[in-house]
Symmetry: C2
Subunit: 205 residues, 2 copies
DNA sequence: TTCAATAGTGAACGATGCGTTCACTAAATG
DNA sequence: CATTTAGTGAACGCATCGTTCACTATTGAA
């Protein structure tokens, strides 16, 4: 019953409240307009508590995004339906981009030049790695079944699907719609990675 | 001789000086740290002159980027060497990204959510359109020569090469190196767009 | 149970940069 | 030469940053 009337929260309890507040602000006003005071107020915390934990807004939001990311990322098992699996994961990524998480990424991109390189590298890796791993798994499964060309396992190719989505998202105001995902599959991904039958079936348009 | 001792510049003369100052600042301190006062001082102009022309920092930088972009963009004629032409244009784009122009794009991305949609759309189109046109020309030429598959003319495919470069640039601190460009060509672009002979030659690795 | 140590609160502060305003001045116009 | 147009530069109010400090709640050891 400590949670129902939190007279004064501390430690992780408070930290999570701050993260939630930051993510909510992120979703409401966008990265560029997130105010430290607003986050503190929303979390019913003091501004000093924020600065005690993170040196500036950029780091706070990075931390919040990371917190959300590790919480959400699912483990994925290929079903054998190559196109279906890809569609599913791609829609999941697009969904993420529509959330505060996506807004955080956009903001982080905007500040890249002025941010220390280790942080940059760390965050990019954390976001890219799980996605790459999922597509690698899907393609490996496909190669084993003979539906995917072995060349698809090259990192640049494995990274292609998430890259297309990220590029689309960053370049426009919103994530790729289901229609756009189908176009990526039809005209870029399947022709590149699928073996004969699978690839050709789609070139009728 | 009006330029050598500009007692007080006006109109386009002053405007160009402001653009140059903005771009120089952009290159030196990065989008997020461009100060209006700094731009004004560098251009030896009054802050009021900036705000008379553009409503805020974002618009000023957009205008400056546009000024630079239209000045630089070359007309390109395919030579018949598919891979060579692609490499050339891709290196040109990467070069642009290494300039203040690239810095401007990064900043613009970061502010997307808070910027009016027409401006967003306008700028994206202005940047994408010339690139798409160049690759469309290269691919059309290739199709005519039989070195490129007709499906490569689909917009999503035409947009792929610039998209790969932009994604790489936004996601890291710097534009793609020549090596990375070769990898894109080897493992993504050529296999997708080139007809039999051209494509297979590269899959020996 | 008491009490010191620890952690959070909230208000105030100086600094910085934004975007505006205004009195003044230089250039263009005729 | 007189008038209009456009730029200058300093000052201003405002918002937000990141810091500091006196105060208070929570914790856990004596």
């Amino acid at each position: 019953m400590t949670e129902s009337t939190p007279g004064r929260r501390r430690g992780d309890d408070l930290e999570h409240a701050i993260f939630d507040a930051a993510l909510a602000e992120l979703a409401e006003v966008g990265y560029a307009n997130v105010r430290m005071e607003a986050v503190a107020a929303r979390a019913k915390a003091g501004k000093a508590s924020l600065y005690k934990r993170w040196p500036d807004r950029a780091r706070l939001i990075q931390a919040a995004a990371r917190y959300k990311a590790t919480e959400v990322e699912p483990s994925f098992e290929p079903s054998g339906d190559l196109r279906g699996d890809m569609r599913k994961v791609m829609r999941h990524i697009a969904g993420q981009q529509a959330s505060p998480f996506g807004e955080a990424i956009r903001g982080w991109i905007g500040e890249l030049k002025s941010t220390p390189d280790e942080v940059t590298e760390d965050l990019r890796t954390r976001i890219e790695t799980p996605r790459i791993r999922i597509f690698a798994k899907i393609y490996e499964d496909g190669v084993a079944r003979g539906t995917v060309k072995p060349e698809a396992l090259h990192p640049r190719v494995v990274n292609l699907a998430p890259g297309l989505l990220t590029h689309y998202f960053l370049t426009r105001a919103e994530p790729a719609t289901d229609d756009v995902i189908e176009e990526f599959l039809d005209h870029v991904l399947m022709p590149l990675i699928a073996t004969g039958e699978g690839a050709e079936r789609l070139e009728e348009s």
